[in-house]
Symmetry: C2
Subunit: 266 residues, 2 copies
């Protein structure tokens, strides 16, 4: 077995991966903000051929992409031969959204012989495990609501919609759309009281077939806070498939608010 | 063929039905607000047996329930024999939500030999017909978005969720939940601009298998206004299955905002 490289974007995730894998090669990119501690190797998207060579020289055979990369401006005048070869496929992907770009990048690395893995594979402790993570035992109603929310997500999965849904007393109060979890939970919080018949739960899971190397659902203390403000009893996530970046702060938020967080095989 | 009775709750719909069917018997209920013009017969929910008799005496064989009835307080001391017979089934239905109550009421009338029909059957002109109702021709993108929104509604239908959805440039921006259309369109209006890649459409349709005598989707000028504020290109509804109560005001709102309204067989 060879060596792991962490291709780092912004946020805390790349650093956590590096701490768990001290031997991993740390790669950051010109024009992309990052919090990765030294030592890092700085590369540029214009010189992907150079990056491939550097990874091979360092004995890397496995890669993880972690953290937000944004969309740095590319200067075609600086493209090396490796990037020239990719460029014709990159332009259409640029119109297709972040997922399409990341899928292309993964495909390119795999063609070069690297194995691309997800952060949850490199550091399983980053995900919510099966069972009650913190908070009180869920009520029978909450488990029933969770099942319905999970059915909703499953039904929407083939349409590439919905990483989350809220169900209360059997009634759906929110389906996560492009705007994300926080926007959806704020929407639920605004539900007129006379329409509500129970507290309800928020269920979060990847879409069926979703490439977790590209886009992994995540929750944190803010999710707990928003779920509490939406009057929910708790949160249910797909065990092992949803990132929990700030475990201790999340645990504290659960204790503060009295909500539960449960990992289930969904 | 016998006579129609309009069992009237609040709002403009019962009056429109009465205008279209001048011979229909107009029934209103004690404790339920209504805008039905005279002559009306006043009945009370406590004396359903009396209502059955009165309908038969008037030669009624067909009923339409129209307008919001709310949940008037019932005084069991005033129940007649007909209501006494219904009461044991009514109590559980009261816990089940408005639809469950209405479904029970429809079942009770049918057991009594009356045919219960939907407002759209009594007055088809109240619905959006197939074709462009008003506004510009929808773009190819809008029709594609409408198809995806319609697929989303179809996928959710077995779960009793979703009479409406918004899709823009292939991305789902909103799924209608318990809070209704207006709340969903306001949510879509708040979508951060950087997430949007196209105008999009709002699609409204009954759930598959939804009893249109109990709950019929409706749109009006406010829907058009909200869709415009959400930045949408137009509205697509299931032809013949969505009520349009204020046709002229809706047409005016479409002209004002430049949105289209299209009826399609969904």
């Amino acid at each position: 077995m060879g060596r792991l490289a962490i291709l780092s974007g912004g946020g805390a995730l790349p650093r956590l991966l590096a701490e768990a894998h001290p031997d991993a090669l740390r790669v950051v990119f010109k024009g992309v903000a990052h919090d990765m501690p030294d030592p890092v190797e700085v590369h540029s998207f214009e010189k992907m051929g150079g990056l491939f060579d550097a990874l091979r020289s360092a004995g890397v055979d496995e890669l993880v992409l972690a953290g937000a990369m944004g969309r740095p401006a590319l200067n075609p005048a600086e493209f090396d031969a490796g990037m020239m070869a990719i460029a014709p496929r990159l332009l259409p992907a640029l119109h297709g959204g972040d997922d399409a770009i990341l899928r292309l990048i993964i495909a390119v690395f795999e063609e070069q012989g690297f194995r691309v893995v997800g952060a949850h594979e490199v550091l399983p402790a980053l995900t919510v495990p099966e069972g009650l993570f913190a908070g009180p035992e869920p009520s029978a109603d909450a488990l029933k609501d969770a099942e319905k929310a999970s059915d909703i997500l499953l039904a929407l999965s083939p349409l590439d919609v919905g990483q989350g849904a809220v169900v209360a007393a059997g009634l759906c109060l929110g389906v996560e759309t492009l705007q994300g979890t926080d926007a959806m939970l704020r929407f639920v919080a605004e539900t007129p009281a006379h329409l509500r018949r129970g507290k309800g739960v928020f269920v979060k899971a990847p879409k069926r077939g979703q490439d977790l190397r590209v886009d992994m659902p995540a929750i944190g203390p803010q999710t707990v806070q928003n779920a509490a403000e939406a009057g929910l009893e708790g949160i249910v996530v797909s065990a092992g498939k949803v990132l929990l970046l700030e475990a201790e702060a999340t645990r504290a938020a659960l204790e503060d608010t009295g909500l539960f967080l449960l990992g289930r095989v969904l």
